[in-house]
């Protein structure tokens, strides 16, 4: 009965594959720099970028932490707001009538175009970047989760109706758990978008963060530092994606009633309603 599903290959093998790919890319990059003799302020060699990473590690850490905080805060707030909106839409026909057209229309506005306004209103601090990130991930999370909430098996809702269920209990105990896979795909998108939102916000006007550092380094022709900042950003984004991807897989498995292999069956649970 318990299917293997899309089990990923062993993590060690995957890590080896990725390491090999990265090594090839670095080798080609270094080769291009050697062969063409392109000046370092146009394209620094990987070795030079590595050196910049080590030398400027304090700087990278300082600005990296700022961006990390913006991304995480934006992610948590955006996902929470998006989920709350989806629930509101699912519960209330009035909300659907009023909110849904506005939501769809709001997607016609390129969120990036709002960045200067946000900076104007909220200043150069992290506030405007967090709001930017929230704006960018709010819609994917809200629409994915709402889709899931809407697609509950109608027969389950019939069963609940015959049982005399309360609407809120139906939402919390049937519709929301059944929509967890869709919520998870919203989270996956959010993980991709969140760093973009924060960095765009920083480009438009900031006093800190990796995006700010990249602009600063670029302006001073410190291309190696710019690449180093980019590299740190990319690493962070990949780590975030892996983290949220793992969380998403757990939510999906839970919704399917799968237990993790090797774990004993759940013990009878104490009453939760007391």
């Amino acid at each position: 009965m318990i299917g293997g599903g899309d089990a990923p290959p062993p993590i060690r093998r995957r890590a080896l594959d990725v390491a090999a790919t990265v090594a090839v890319i670095l080798a080609v990059w270094q080769g291009v720099v050697w062969a063409t003799g392109v000046p370092p302020f146009i394209l620094p060699s990987p070795a030079r970028v590595g050196q910049a990473m080590v030398e400027s590690r304090g700087l990278l850490l300082e600005h990296g932490l700022i961006t990390l905080f913006e991304v995480l805060a934006g992610l948590v707030l955006g996902a929470a707001l998006g989920a709350a909106t989806a629930v509101q839409l699912a519960l209330s026909p009035t909300a659907r009538r009023i909110l849904l057209p506005v939501l769809v229309f709001s997607q016609a506005v390129p969120v990036f175009a709002l960045a200067p306004v946000l900076t104007l209103w909220l200043g150069y601090g992290i506030g405007s970047k967090i709001v930017m990130t929230v704006l960018i991930i709010y819609f994917p999370v809200a629409s994915a989760f709402y889709d899931g909430l809407r697609r509950t098996d109608p027969a389950l809702l019939d069963l609940a109706a015959v049982m005399g269920a309360r609407p809120l209990a139906v939402l919390l105990r049937i519709r929301a758990p059944a929509a967890l896979p869709e919520f998870a795909s919203g989270l996956r998108l959010a993980a991709v978008y969140a760093p973009i939102g924060a960095v765009i916000g920083e480009w438009v006007g900031a006093s800190g963060g990796l995006g700010y550092l990249m602009l600063l380094a670029n302006g001073r022709a410190k291309t190696d530092l710019m690449f180093a900042a980019l590299f740190v950003l990319a690493l962070g984004a990949v780590a975030l994606y892996a983290l949220l991807g793992g969380l998403a897989r757990r939510l999906e498995r839970r919704a399917r009633g799968e237990r993790r292999a090797g774990l004993p069956p759940r013990r009878p649970r104490a009453r939760r309603d007391g």
């Binding site: 005399g164 209990a169 105990r173 009878p268």
Partner: protein, 242 residues
């Protein structure tokens, strides 16, 4: 459990201005009434009307219980698919109704009913760890847990293989004793085994057929059962062709 009422449903059902069927249906209190017919004649709609569920159409006529009290809150429902929530184990699924009403589930009673349908070994398993027959047993325990005097069964055994189906029929008949049961089915053999009353519903309308001899559940291979099955099949095929 409150005493089981009889059920009455008479009138014409229309969908989008078009009359789909008219019916004079009566289910005696505490007995099994089988609603036999081909797919698409509105058997399930009859059940949905009795359950108080949305049908998209309109009934002109009378619908209610023989004791004159409203049916709402006295009806439990079981469908062809088990409708178990995949993320809950059997125990949690069986007590779902109480949770959905914001009541405290009676754990001891749930354990007893899970035992009654033969799932005591599997109470902590999720639906994907159960076979199709076990899942229908869990759905039956969930229906029993609701403790409603009327049970509406919408082809609950149709997806099971013959042996499992016969087992489930016997089990359901035993545990639902005393309740007013309406069983929708397209299986003449099932109606012949279980029906105290058998109503044939086809495009031409609904009419009562003489109930088979002997007390239900009748043996699957008894001559009376098979004879009744043959008669029901003849009526089913004959009226569909007419």
């Amino acid at each position: 459990m409150a005493p089981a009422p009889g059920l009455i449903l008479e009138g014409a059902f229309a969908f989008g201005g078009r009359r789909l069927f008219s019916l004079d249906f009566e289910a005696p209190a505490g007995r099994w009434t089988c609603l036999l017919g081909p797919s698409g004649v509105g058997k399930s709609t009859v059940l949905r009307l009795l359950a108080g569920l949305e049908t998209g159409g309109r009934l002109e006529g009378r619908l209610g219980a023989s004791d004159g009290r409203p049916l709402a809150g006295r009806v439990a429902w079981m469908a062809q698919s088990d409708l178990l929530l995949p993320w809950l184990d059997v125990r949690e699924n069986v007590t779902l109704g109480a949770r959905l009403r914001g009541e405290r589930p009676d754990g001891a009673r749930a354990e007893r009913l899970i035992g009654e349908v033969g799932l005591e070994e599997h109470a902590g398993k999720t639906p994907r760890e159960l076979s199709g027959g076990m899942r229908q047993r869990a759905a039956l325990a969930r229906l029993l847990m609701e403790d409603r005097p009327v049970a509406l069964l919408d082809e609950p055994f149709a997806a099971l293989d013959l042996r499992l189906r016969l087992e489930m029929q016997d089990l359901a008949h035993r545990v639902l004793a005393g309740r007013t049961v309406v069983l929708v089915t397209h299986d003449a053999h099932e109606a012949a085994r279980l029906g105290d009353r058998v109503l044939l519903m086809t495009e031409a309308g609904a009419r009562e057929l003489p109930p088979p001899e002997g007390a239900a559940p009748r043996a699957a291979d008894a001559p009376e059962t098979l004879r009744a099955q043959a008669e029901l099949t003849r009526a089913l095929v004959g009226e569909a062709a007419a």
